[in-house]
Symmetry: C2
Subunit: 388 residues, 2 copies
């Protein structure tokens, strides 16, 4: 089972484009994962049928290898496992190669990294927001522990942890297209088949759309992912530059400074939750520790339950006011090999983004987002909801 995602023949690679000025992960193994055909929409998620879900308790043998579980007995409450279709591989080295042979002077490195899954609870139908604050705290502690383990690997520069929604857009599913055309959907055969195809006469094929509405959803079992990268991704670099510039100008950390007021949703002893002043997405929420702290994985263990409680509250408010939307949830932390003491400008936070509107071409091309909802209005809506 565990080798299924690895033996694709081709190894993952990271490439840096000097023009777009960012790194891209090329990952043949990802094209094989079954989730392309599945839905996460609220309607058909958690159908209660766990017989085919590898993340359910009792089905551990259907998963890629385990990294650790909590508690460490058969009656686990959460498990951290390897991703069966990892974007990066833990088994290769990552030397710098020059790709001059392709006629472009460009950088490429081997796709070394870790790609893990955190199964947040043993029961198929339990969502993160249904869990006790204490158990959500355990999930956050699991992230912390796993990042700490990874931090000892020198070539890893950043770990992105969170719930990453896979959005099945209203368009052709990539793998389905291959599968339907060639009966296979591995990348080795794809290019070859296409070469054959392009000289043959068959030109129309059936298109599958809107899998979300009809397909199953075994991956709806509540889980998060951790991706440990050998590069610092572009949004993280941009964030660091932004926070650093602010610090240079004002002598203060941009997130220590947030007083919230009109932007406040809620607060607890050590955290506040806000809609950020220039929220990229409608009803985007941030949970920020009050005290300065640059690395999530170095934050106090004994505050994780409080953080879990505030996260639960935000998820419930969002669910009630915005009709239980799919959402992304991310830990925005600092690069690994930089010391806390050097980062007086960098402050970690949790970001929650409900999936309410589609981002389109303009946003993709420019990096500039159009948000129809002013943050102070969104904050008011979220602040004023009465939870039952």
């Amino acid at each position: 089972m565990s080798s299924q995602g690895q033996n694709t023949g081709r190894r993952p690679e990271l490439r840096h484009d000097p023009v777009a000025n960012r790194w891209v992960i090329f990952s043949p193994a990802r094209a094989k994962r079954p989730t392309d055909f599945k839905s996460k929409s609220p309607q058909n998620s958690n159908p209660g049928d766990n017989s085919s879900c590898p993340f359910c308790i009792g089905n551990e043998h259907e998963c890629a290898p385990e990294i650790f579980r909590v508690p460490s007995d058969p009656n686990w409450k959460l498990r951290v496992i390897e991703n069966l279709y990892p974007a990066l591989s833990r088994n290769i080295e990552g030397p710098c190669e020059e790709k001059q042979d392709m006629g472009v002077p460009a950088r490429a490195i081997g796709g070394f990294g870790f790609h893990d899954v955190v199964i947040e609870n043993p029961v198929h139908s339990v969502h993160l927001c249904d869990m006790e604050a204490r158990d959500i705290g355990q999930v956050l502690l699991a992230y912390k522990k796993r990042i700490q383990q990874i931090a000892s690997v020198e070539s890893i520069k950043y770990v992105q942890a969170g719930i990453f929604l896979f959005i099945l857009q209203n368009c052709i599913s990539f793998s389905m297209l291959w599968k339907d055309r060639f009966g296979v959907c591995t990348l080795e055969t794809m290019v070859h088949s296409f070469s054959l195809q392009s000289s043959s006469s068959c030109s129309t094929i059936k298109v599958f759309k809107n899998h979300g509405a009809s397909a199953g959803a075994s991956m709806s079992h509540s889980h998060s992912q951790l991706l440990a990268l050998p590069i610092i991704p572009s949004a993280v670099s941009a964030r660091f530059e932004g926070m650093n510039e602010y610090f240079k100008k004002t002598g203060k950390c941009s997130l220590c400074e947030v007083q919230a007021k009109e932007l406040l949703i809620d607060e607890s002893t050590h955290f506040i939750s806000i809609v950020p002043f220039a929220a990229t997405y409608p009803f985007e929420m941030w949970i920020i520790p009050r005290a300065h702290s640059s690395h999530f994985h170095e934050f106090d263990c004994d505050k994780m339950v409080e953080l879990g409680g505030l996260l639960k509250l935000m998820l419930r408010k969002m669910s009630l006011q915005l009709n239980n939307p799919p959402f992304n949830f991310m830990i925005q932390t600092s690069p690994l090999q930089v010391k806390e003491s050097e980062l007086s400008y960098a402050h970690w936070f949790l970001q929650i983004v409900p999936q309410l509107s589609g981002a389109g071409g303009f946003e993709m091309g420019s990096g500039c987002y159009i948000n129809p909802v002013f943050p102070e209005d969104a904050a008011k809506v979220l602040r004023e909801v009465n939870l039952p």
Copy 2:
């Protein structure tokens, strides 16, 4: 008709977040546009019924004001008009405000700018790739002319032109949610209604999903958009930094240097088309002028038909090999107020991105993309297709 999108009571605003380090456009008018309910999927687009399409010839009175048409008689071949629901407003000034009152030291400017629509041809069912190279050249010339007009407005820093796909994701439609809940979908009423709502007992509402599959598609009439911005968007800054760094290191322009080889799809006298070495998206394509040129709108008029021809070829190859997918198409050019002579490192290009896979949470949070297809494989597939 023309004021419909403007009189929303609240004016658009741009805000810069020091943490995310990017500008976001807050645009109440956008929430009102009808396109939220519509689909662009290949299946139900261009149904041939043009009676309700404002972009069709004969329905000019249903559109926001015209800027120019080509030729300038009733039998036009293309029109440039104002967007009825503009993200930015041409009627306000943009002074810098300090938003200290919200408890955040942050920058905000008035949402001044232009948001135009280019109706690419008079007939509802004709797609860009169905048009003659000469007529596609006319569309490119219209972009050029309109950018030249806008370039004289000093406060405009960048113009993003292209075909911007609106993706109806497999999730709740934002406006539908409001409309269904409150019978209205304007933003003025929204916050107020929500305040009422949060103290009332009604908590479940019907959710509309997958509008794409069933809804009409009048906006499927082939059109592009131009957004003229008072800021330089973050992806453009990143691109400039990247190209500048490359230049400083090598003494050469990164795009003059592209020799293509394995990455080549096609070429003509003055242009080449490639899959970029570190393509962000599967089957992403770039058309690059061979000779150094920083600003699209200063490029030779007499090469636009040749460019139109290569663009047509790329769209037909994409359509045939990838089963006519929805796509984004963008002109990636240089900021307006910088002179061509100062930009030996900046080179404009056309970017075409077929919509094949969904970008998800990991990409959104990190800015690092996972692409399952190596560019040299994608280029081979596109190079080798035989067009009928």
